[in-house]
Subunit: 430 residues, 2 copies
């Protein structure tokens, strides 16, 4: 067997291998690991190419050109994904592991897709150490759909529930719940422009509240819970929207009745919403609940009551595998803390040139909003950063300024490049 063919065979036999090599994280392709399979260093080879192979080679050249053009994408979601996950998805898009189909073409009831969704769930359970008394659901419609599904499933129309509102998303969740139960805002950070998290002791919880709702990380305002309040009602539960910090750090799932998250920040593309729910909370949906929003229907059918968003679930599965390969969420959190520290330090050390409005103790590891003292320079900042291939740094339209979203998949190099640019920009404009 010629050397190239032999290598190829090895790659096919162990397509996971490059996911296990942390050194390849920011590479275009795991050249190093491939080149040393079986301790056989590979040298450049001459290959006599037949016509079809010619076109194939050309296609791969395009891959190389692309990798040089990859940007640092600071978007708040959909957001940057791990390069190795994208490359793996690309390599198996047309034919998933030799089954002769794309994942996009598979029957959701076939053995191939069942293996994909079951592995995704198992890996997520491992990552978050989800107790067996919790169900994991892969749903559609984003967190906004859950804003309705939660009260529809957990309450009767007259039940009181408590909302702590630390930003726009918590506020939206509260407003939607008004259709289905009696929600009450027991704390709002609005008057302080959503820069704080309340002290839990001071919360005036309704002792009858069926649940206490928080948004664990406010994507727009960059405010993150570092610890979690306990419901005053011993029969009540804590419910958290974790869309923008899901799987960014370890979480004690047993403290929650429900955790829900749109995937498109930390764990996949848009189109799938993950719900982790304690099983005893399932089965009491209001009569007006659409079938697809009824957790009982979804749980009894393992998220397969109708056709789920198969490809999105597959992508989440690849990300979960990658997070496990990195050493799990403790390791991921370390990286996230380091990235955030570098960025917040740069802001705080700028003598007020850059400003982050959020109270230091609750600053988000994921979404870093900041403004310029000279706000008239903000448009230039964003424009010049884009020229340096740092995109999507504009703050949400409701708050202005800048925002750098530095989710799991944002490499350290991206934050370092941003900080270097910030210092240079300041030197030129201070």
């Amino acid at each position: 067997m010629p050397m190239a063919a032999s290598l190829h065979t090895n790659f096919l036999q162990n397509p996971n291998r490059h996911l296990n090599n942390p050194t390849t994280q920011n590479n275009v392709f795991p050249v190093t690991s491939i080149r040393t399979i079986k301790n056989t260093p590979i040298r450049p080879v001459s290959i006599k190419c037949a016509a079809p192979t010619t076109t194939q080679i050309q296609d791969r050249f395009s891959g190389q050109a692309q990798s040089q053009d990859r940007v640092f994408n600071f978007a708040a979601g959909p957001a940057t994904l791990p390069e190795n996950v994208l490359l793996r998805a690309q390599s198996e898009l047309y034919n998933w592991r030799g089954c002769g189909m794309s994942v996009m073409e598979m029957s959701h009831r076939g053995k191939e897709f069942l293996s994909i969704i079951q592995k995704a769930e198992a890996d997520l359970r491992a990552l978050l150490e989800i107790p067996p008394e919790y169900a994991v659901l892969f749903l559609q419609g984003g967190a906004t759909t859950q804003f309705a599904a939660l009260p529809l499933n957990l309450c009767n129309q007259d039940d009181p529930v408590d909302y702590v509102v630390t930003g726009s998303w918590g506020d939206k969740a509260f407003k939607e719940a008004q259709k289905y139960c009696k929600p009450n805002v027991i704390w709002s950070g609005k008057s302080e422009k959503y820069t704080k998290i309340p002290s839990f002791d001071g919360l005036e919880q309704n002792p009858q509240a069926r649940y206490l709702h928080i948004c664990a990380n406010e994507t727009i305002h960059g405010v993150e819970f570092k610890d979690y309040p306990t419901p005053k009602n011993p029969n009540g539960v804590l419910v958290a929207d974790m869309s923008s910090n899901f799987c960014s750090k370890p979480v004690d799932v047993s403290k929650f009745g429900v955790i829900y998250a749109g995937a498109q920040k930390n764990v996949g593309p848009s189109g799938v919403t993950i719900v982790i729910i304690r099983k005893d909370l399932i089965g009491n949906a209001q009569d007006v609940t659409p079938l697809m929003l009824d957790y009982k229907i979804q749980a009894e059918n393992n998220s397969l009551y109708n056709t789920p968003p198969c490809y999105c679930i597959y992508m989440c599965g690849l990300v979960f595998e990658d997070l496990l390969d990195q050493g799990g969420l403790k390791e991921v959190e370390k990286k996230n803390k380091k990235k955030a520290e570098i960025l917040y330090n740069a802001i705080d050390a700028s003598n007020g040139f850059y400003r982050c409005p959020v109270e230091k103790s609750v600053r988000s590891l994921m979404n870093v909003p900041f403004t310029l003292e000279k706000s008239e320079l903000e448009a230039d900042f964003i424009k010049e950063a884009a020229k340096e291939k740092m995109l999507q740094l504009k703050g949400h339209r409701s708050v202005g300024g800048m925002r750098a979203s530095i989710y799991n998949a944002m490499p350290l190099a991206g934050v370092e490049t941003l900080v270097a640019f910030m210092k240079d920009f300041q030197a030129r404009h201070a």
Copy 2:
């Protein structure tokens, strides 16, 4: 510039080209067209490969191996997709047209994704000649979510609506509507095992019905409307679930108030549901309607109220482009008719060895259910077909037997191979 590099440049400059060449439809890669660019036939070349290129070549070898293994996938949905669309998606998965991001990573409010969703809508409008007074929505949750959204948006709780039930999906739609209005089944094919479509003259429509609901093609039972009934109520509208025959033939959209379809049969992967709705029907949702099921919210925000299923929409866009390149839905219908004719003829000419229970005039062009006279041979049939790389031929669990779903993307060769196998199987077992 060496020849290979020159070709590569051409490919990058016009990545759409292979989509325009109908001769490449069933090829793995448009080798023919690439090989004759500028009338310069390409010969095999020797390429001196540096190390990274070595790995890239190996990766493409895997592509070649995969193509040889591609199966004929007769699944009812998710279902086979056009090979050229898959290959194009693969080529630009990692970096969409040089923007430095995957489509999966793009902000849904950025100019790149907006261009994708706008082109998808424009191409769909061109395909179906959708009048300007209709909105096109890209939603989540499958047709099952629309079973609730329709009555929630079109009716008050006391409004009567009519359902013609020609199979399981129409029945499910009816049952869900019971939560939100007063639906009535004015015709059901259940007693005849869903093998017929009623005569429209005999339908006892409620003259007050807000809408008349049909399932244009019943995926499980293989029954398809060839024409459409007119609502008796002059202010009522016709509503159709077209999930399994969407974009398989021309449709006069102006006859309908609402057309809706899960994408995962004819136009894309699962995870996106397309709703085409006359704009004057929008804006009257019941109070209990979840935000995400309110057509007004979705229409006012161009399907971007929250993050849409971006990658699924992108894939649909590629399929729409491919359908236009094929000459539009009239041409697509011709191909579908030919495929269906070959298959039904083989069944009808088998002297009863194979049987299709559906009345001939309403047999589906998309889903062909059939049984064996000797039903004890059905398991062997499915098993032997799978050995010949024809998969997912088992009938739905509720009806048994076999079912061949032959959507737009099923090549003629797939049907021909199936028919040849059927004849051979019959010869061996008659």
